[in-house]
Symmetry: C2
């Protein structure tokens, strides 16, 4: 898809990076709500420059999200190194959620309804999913996760926790309830 694109001029590459940094920080803090002018100002550039590097706001957002997903994949790979399957799972889960907490744009991309514009990210997402699947399978195999636990369930609980990251919600508490169940002793 992406044409070979011969190397950028030095100033162009520098500015592209500046845009990515500025946008990354702002999106992380306030999600989709930040506006292009703001990003440009923060990067010390004109709006026009943003549009030279990214077709539109979606594309910029997608670039940022893609970047995060790569970091996430690396994190997942590291988690998978753990010998103990449960440790691997827990590491993955908390790593994922801590990233999500630190990045509103990331949450936004994952919580919102499926948008076709995230297609650029499909590859990175697939990588991550593959590792997640392996980790989940390991934990199930060792009897540390309930037998019918699937990779989809990871998405489920993850979305649930993220929904408790805005306002007064306490996502760690939410996870505790999930891990231990909410029922009392009497059955």
């Amino acid at each position: 898809m992406t044409a070979p694109e011969r190397a950028l001029r030095a100033d162009a590459r520098r500015n592209r990076e500046a845009v990515l940094d500025a946008a990354g920080e702002l999106f992380a803090r306030r999600g989709d709500a930040v506006q292009m002018d703001e990003i440009a100002e923060r990067a010390g550039l004109g709006v026009g420059t943003l549009y030279r590097h990214f077709a539109d706001k979606q594309a910029l957002l997608a670039a940022i999200i893609g970047r995060r997903f790569e970091a996430m994949t690396a994190m997942a790979r590291a988690a998978d190194e753990a010998e103990d399957p449960w440790v691997a799972f827990e590491t993955l889960l908390y790593g994922y959620l801590e990233s999500a907490q630190a990045d509103a744009a990331f949450r936004f991309a994952l919580l919102g309804p499926e948008e076709p514009s995230w297609n650029d990210i499909a590859a990175e997402k697939t990588d991550f999913s593959a590792i997640t699947e392996r980790i989940v399978r390991r934990a199930v195999g060792a009897g540390r996760l309930r037998e019918d636990f699937r990779a989809d369930d990871f998405v489920l609980i993850t979305r649930g926790a993220m929904a408790n990251m805005t306002g007064a919600g306490d996502w760690r508490r939410h996870l505790t309830l999930l891990l231990e169940g909410i029922r009392g002793p009497e059955r």
Copy 2:
């Protein structure tokens, strides 16, 4: 707060109702995304009429949400009738979530960050919270919910489930995991 406001003229009352119905249905289906012109058209009225009855879009939305909350409170009261504390809790939980599933505007109001504009609803919300608190306490007292379960946790798990109502998420599955915990037999 609300002034006595002498009775509306017959046509005004009729139209107000039409607006509420149209807005209710549209908000329920598509949440905050519907636009005023659409609501007006659906109600068979001009936009001006909407603004005669409601100061702005927020106010209209708040009116709708308030209405839903009253229904919710009635539902909670009914759930509290059950002798079995667990049945009461489960009835409340599923009743709440089924309403949320049927109403995007309701979800929107509960999932989004706290907005000051919901203040009109504070009363209805308080009523509902009081009943929820009683039901939770009953279930905890009977040992059917873990001892440290609080009313806040109801909000937590409820938000979690609602986050799995858009797209492919399966909120019932999410609840099952919560109720039973996600761990396997090996500890």
